[in-house]
């Protein structure tokens, strides 16, 4: 039911109001024809009998009340899908921007996505080896998990995400693997870094990219995750791929959300972000996971740069409440030159417990992990104390803890950008480092593992 109107009545920010309608539906897609012949897109935010509030995706610049035509499509936003999308690059609204041909659709889906029935979910428990000790050993990633990278301006989060995309594998399996990459408001350089790195490693052949650059319309950013995830769902649950979705930068997405909310004159929640931001983010993040009796999976790594490295800022805060853990990139570790600079203490993988241990990684993994955490946490505490009191005022055992913390950062956390450590290497390295501490300090380890691993020094 396509209908066209010339009855635009108000324009404010990215919002327009169309009057004198013959009815429209909530969430339907709208095309706006400008006098100069260009076409823009929008979505109905509020549907009344003879009036519609429309959010414009490409902004309202040059819009004119009298000579703009508005066409109501009668349908919500959709994406054309087929196996040919793999290896292609699209705009934030799903238009090819790689000089390739239009996609001939085998399947057309709305991008909203229905919630997965919790009863239909399968619990993620397959260990993914990323080759990065700070993740594999202590904050283990599993298939179907959503694990964001919390970072800040000037930190190596993109390199880390790319290294994970290159190296991620499931032990003893050779499955179809795909990367869906959604860029929101990133600079050309950043986007280029991703594209060229994916191209270099050949990964582009199994990637789908949705790119909205910093100078592209702000509102288009809101569409990127929906298109990316609808694609991911198609690849994972229809075609059986194991999909890794990387979304960067969620901070830009949330700012776009705030911009639209302000234009709609909604009551703001914390720091001007809309009250429904939690729900909105949840509808993105919760689309990943595993489904019973389906071979594919969606694993998600959103990247977000924390404004002023503040993790209590609403964006990282709400994200942390939805995602299954987080990887913190630390400015102080990076300043020391310790790439990938993962701050393991505040980092967390909530699903690790089901993905590690006997038959998954190795029997000693859970105990070792707890021991490393508690030893490093104590080491860091003592380090702070040493700053005030001087190292000589510390007890002998505490001095050992300082040495442990230092070596842990230098050898365990720090690794090469191309270094792909196996899980056995990571675990053995952990035991090797624990040798610095006496056996009496191994309070988180069961006797049998002390016998089998600690006393052998990780060899």
């Amino acid at each position: 039911m396509i209908k066209e109107y010339k009855t635009l009545s108000d324009v404010a920010g990215p919002i327009i109001i169309v009057d004198g309608l013959d009815g429209c539906s909530y969430g339907e897609l709208v095309e706006i024809f400008l006098p100069d012949g260009s076409v823009r897109h929008g979505e109905v935010l509020k549907a009344e009998e003879h009036k519609a509030l429309v959010q414009m995706f490409e902004g309202t610049e040059n819009l004119n009340i009298h000579s703009t035509r508005i066409r109501f499509s009668g349908k919500p936003s959709e994406i054309k899908l087929s196996p040919d999308i793999i290896g292609r690059v699209f705009s934030g609204l799903g238009k090819p921007i790689d000089d390739g041909e239009e996609i001939i659709a085998q399947e057309i889906r709305t991008t909203m996505g229905d919630p997965i029935n919790p009863y239909a979910r399968d619990y993620p428990s397959e260990f993914i080896q990323t080759g990065i000790s700070g993740i594999d050993g202590l904050n283990t990633l599993v298939r179907g998990q959503k694990l964001p990278i919390f970072s800040g301006a000037g930190l190596p989060h993109n390199e880390l995400a790319l290294q994970i995309a290159r190296q991620a594998k499931v032990l003893k399996k050779s499955d179809q693997f795909a990367v869906v990459f959604g860029a929101m408001g990133v600079t050309f350089d950043e986007s280029n870094e991703f594209v060229s790195s994916l191209r270099e490693s050949g990964a582009i052949e199994r990637s789908v990219l949705f790119i909205n650059l910093a100078n592209d319309p702000v509102i288009e950013r809101l569409a990127v995750p929906k298109y990316a995830l609808t694609t991911a769902e198609y690849l994972a649950f229809d075609l059986g791929y194991h999909v890794l979705v990387i979304l960067t930068d969620m901070t830009n997405y949330c700012e776009a959300l705030r911009e639209v909310s302000a234009a709609r004159k909604e009551i703001p929640g914390r720091r001007g972000y809309p009250g429904y931001m939690y729900t909105d983010l949840a509808t993105i993040y919760e689309r990943c996971g595993r489904i019973k009796n389906k071979s594919g999976s969606i694993t998600m790594m959103p990247i977000l740069s924390m404004p002023d490295d503040d993790k209590t800022h609403p964006i990282p805060d709400l994200t942390g409440y939805i995602t299954e853990g987080q990887i913190f990139v630390s400015r102080s570790l990076y300043a020391k030159g310790y790439y990938p600079a993962i701050d393991v203490l505040p980092s967390l993988s909530r699903l690790k417990d089901k993905g590690i241990g006997k038959d998954k990684t190795r029997e000693d993994h859970p105990n070792l992990m707890n021991q490393l955490f508690s030893a490093y946490a104590h080491g860091r505490e003592v380090q702070e104390l040493a700053v005030i009191l001087g190292e000589s005022a510390l007890s002998d055992i505490d001095q050992l803890y300082i040495r442990f913390a230092d070596e842990f950062e230098q050898r365990y956390v720090k690794q090469n950008r191309r270094e792909d450590r196996t899980i056995t290497e990571t675990l053995d390295l952990g035991w090797e480092l624990l040798q610095i501490l006496p056996e009496t300090e191994m309070t988180r380890v069961r006797d049998e593992f002390i016998e089998r691993y600690y006393r052998k020094g990780g060899r």
Binding site: P115, T312, D353, A377
Partner: protein, 593 residues
């Protein structure tokens, strides 16, 4: 309320808020079906000819002009045999049935029965023909699971003389009895329908006396919650709220558990669904799923249904309380519920209170927690309903409105701290700012059932931890060398209380649950090491705390947590401790000689 069904039409749609007109008989809180897809909604405001509706489903595609059909009844839950072990969404639609009929995703406009209306249950009467029964009285039971007898009660508001009642096999909709009241005889079925926003009636409230045993050491020993009590668990993300809620759902000594996943992660609900059937109830040895009901309204499911989910949960819990059971409800997380209220309030363009939350936030929160309590039921038995709510304050800031509104009504506060979580000290309950107003009440119980020393040990251990906190200040300024040997002992013993007693690994087969008796032995070991060492340090000037801490018995104390409950007697190390210390002091004396 009229049961007449009416039809109106949609005027406008904005997200989950729909305005309709031409429904003159509409009542507040009445359930309606919206549009061609028959989406589920509830009336939340009336303005002359206009009706404001919150829709429990995604509204994309709805058009003004489509019809709205009223149902004549408020949002209700359906109660009866078949409810245990179920998994529902926020408005009691069974997710397992939806999965079978509609596939992996939750489509819109699904209308499925909350209970299986075709299943036959073996009904056993408890009363006979001619008996006079009052409202809420048990008239019979069915064995719903081997753990739980599902009692069939007279519905609230109905009483009279039993005209006929028969044993046999019935569906929930078939009458099992006929009851005459004032000359009118009416059938009684096993089904009750109750509006979720109205509390179920009871005879009177009683003061709680029994603790809810959780098997979690920091809770049972230091911050216990009573059967019929209220507790809240606020904490920043990653501090382990959900793990605590899961642990309570697994091990708490309640007869029935209602677990409400309100606006949280889908995988967490899957975790419960996959794990609980394989876990054993420590009391009965049966599968935990046989005493559990799940309400799962995950964060990506419609926000209005999230708002309703905690009410659906607590109404189901009250129903089992009315049968005389001890019921516990876990709501994870009440912040998501509050945010759902805020979102709907914002769409209604109500005047916002603090941080955009509606001004009625605190009265709603208080109203919810007040539905807890130990009661004498209408039928004359005693039942209790404990409420444990998780709160997810933004940035872990406890001064925000939801935490503050909650703290005003709950009696137990388990304060979760990020710094403890970072050090992987779980449960990350801060022992210095948490509190429980039930300790005195429950001390009496533990004195009777475990040991008269229970309260003494609790106070002693807590004062050691307080002392440690003070000493830490000194250490931070001048270092450990400034401490005397007895102060060093306090530091070491407190460390032992923290690491060997308070720290508890939820993912370890043995450590996940600790009985009251074992908890007692564990704290007794640590405290007797303290008392005995202190005596000897005072007597022998040359005795060093570090020598005591190097004793192998110290490591044994730490490992007691991994001692299975079957070997409970091996957990008592007091004689070992004395022997080890005696040996140490005698070698000291020899070397002095």
């Amino acid at each position: 309320m009229s049961n007449e069904k009416q039809q109106g039409r949609i005027v406008s749609i904005s997200g989950p808020l729909i305005v309709a007109e031409d429904l003159p008989q509409a009542h507040m809180m009445e359930v309606v079906r919206i549009g061609n897809e028959k989406l589920f909604g509830e009336i939340i405001e009336l303005h002359k000819n206009l009706v404001y509706i919150q829709c429990y489903e995604e509204t994309t595609g709805l058009r003004p002009g489509e019809t709205v059909t009223s149902s004549g009844v408020p949002l209700s839950v359906t109660l009866g045999p078949g409810i245990i072990g179920a998994i529902y969404d926020g408005v009691q639609r069974p997710l397992d049935t939806i999965y079978k009929s509609h596939g992996d995703y939750i489509a819109r406009g699904i209308d499925v029965d909350p209970l299986d209306y075709s299943k036959k249950w073996d009904f056993h009467p408890l009363v006979k023909d001619g008996d006079i029964v009052k409202e809420g009285e048990k008239i019979g039971w069915v064995e719903e699971t081997p753990t739980i007898k599902h009692y069939i009660m007279m519905p609230p508001g109905r009483s009279g003389t039993i005209e006929s009642i028969q044993e046999g096999s019935f569906t929930v909709k078939e009458p099992v009895a006929t009851v005459t009241e004032k000359g009118i005889s009416q059938p009684v079925t096993m089904l009750q329908i109750w509006p979720v926003r109205t509390k179920r009636p009871f005879a009177k409230r009683i003061v709680p006396t029994q603790p809810l045993i959780t098997g979690q050491r920091v809770i049972d020993m230091f911050f216990p919650v009573a059967e019929g009590g209220t507790a809240c668990v606020p904490g920043p993300f990653g501090s382990g709220k959900t793990v605590i809620q899961h642990q309570l759902a697994k091990w708490a000594s309640a007869d029935m558990i209602v677990y409400v996943g309100c606006g949280e992660r889908g995988n967490e609900m899957t975790d419960v669904l996959m794990e609980f059937p394989h876990l054993k109830d420590p009391k009965t040895g049966r599968s935990l799923m046989e005493r559990t009901i799940l309400i799962a309204n995950t964060s990506n499911m419609p926000v209005a249904a999230r708002e309703a989910s905690v009410y659906s949960g607590i109404t189901i819990a009250e129903y089992f309380r009315d049968m005389g059971y001890n019921v516990a409800i876990m709501a994870d997380s009440t912040s998501r519920w509050a945010e759902a209220m805020r979102e709907i309030s914002g769409r209604l363009e109500e005047m916002p209170g603090e941080e955009g939350y509606p001004a009625y936030l605190s009265s709603r929160v208080a109203g919810f927690y007040e539905r807890s309590g130990k009661v004498q039921t209408l039928g004359g038995s005693e039942g209790s309903l404990s409420v444990i709510g998780a709160v997810s304050p933004p940035g872990g800031d406890l001064s925000e409105p939801v935490v503050q509104a909650t703290l005003r009504v709950v009696k137990v506060f388990w304060s979760l701290e990020a710094s403890l979580a970072y050090a992987r000290h779980f449960p990350a309950i801060n022992w210095l700012n948490s509190y429980s107003l039930y300790s005195n009440l429950t001390d009496a119980y533990f004195k009777d059932t475990i040991d008269t020393l229970w309260p003494t040990y609790r106070i002693q251990a807590m004062s050691l931890l307080q002392k440690e906190n003070e000493l830490n200040e000194i250490v931070r300024l001048v270092g450990t060398d400034a401490l005397s040997e007895s102060e060093k002992l306090v530091m070491e013993i407190s460390k032992s209380i923290r690491e060997d007693f308070l720290h508890q690994n939820a993912f370890d087969d043995i450590d996940t649950f600790t009985s009251g008796r074992k908890q007692f032995y564990m704290i007794q070991n640590i405290l007797s090491l303290y008392t005995e060492s202190l005596l000897r340090i005072r007597a022998h000037k040359t005795l060093k705390v570090s020598d005591i801490m190097d004793l192998p018995v110290r490591a044994s104390i730490a490992r007691v947590k991994y001692q299975p409950e079957e070997n409970i007697e091996k957990c008592n190390l007091t004689t070992h401790i004395k022997e080890a210390l005696d040996k140490l002091t005698s070698t000291l004396e020899e070397s002095n000689d």
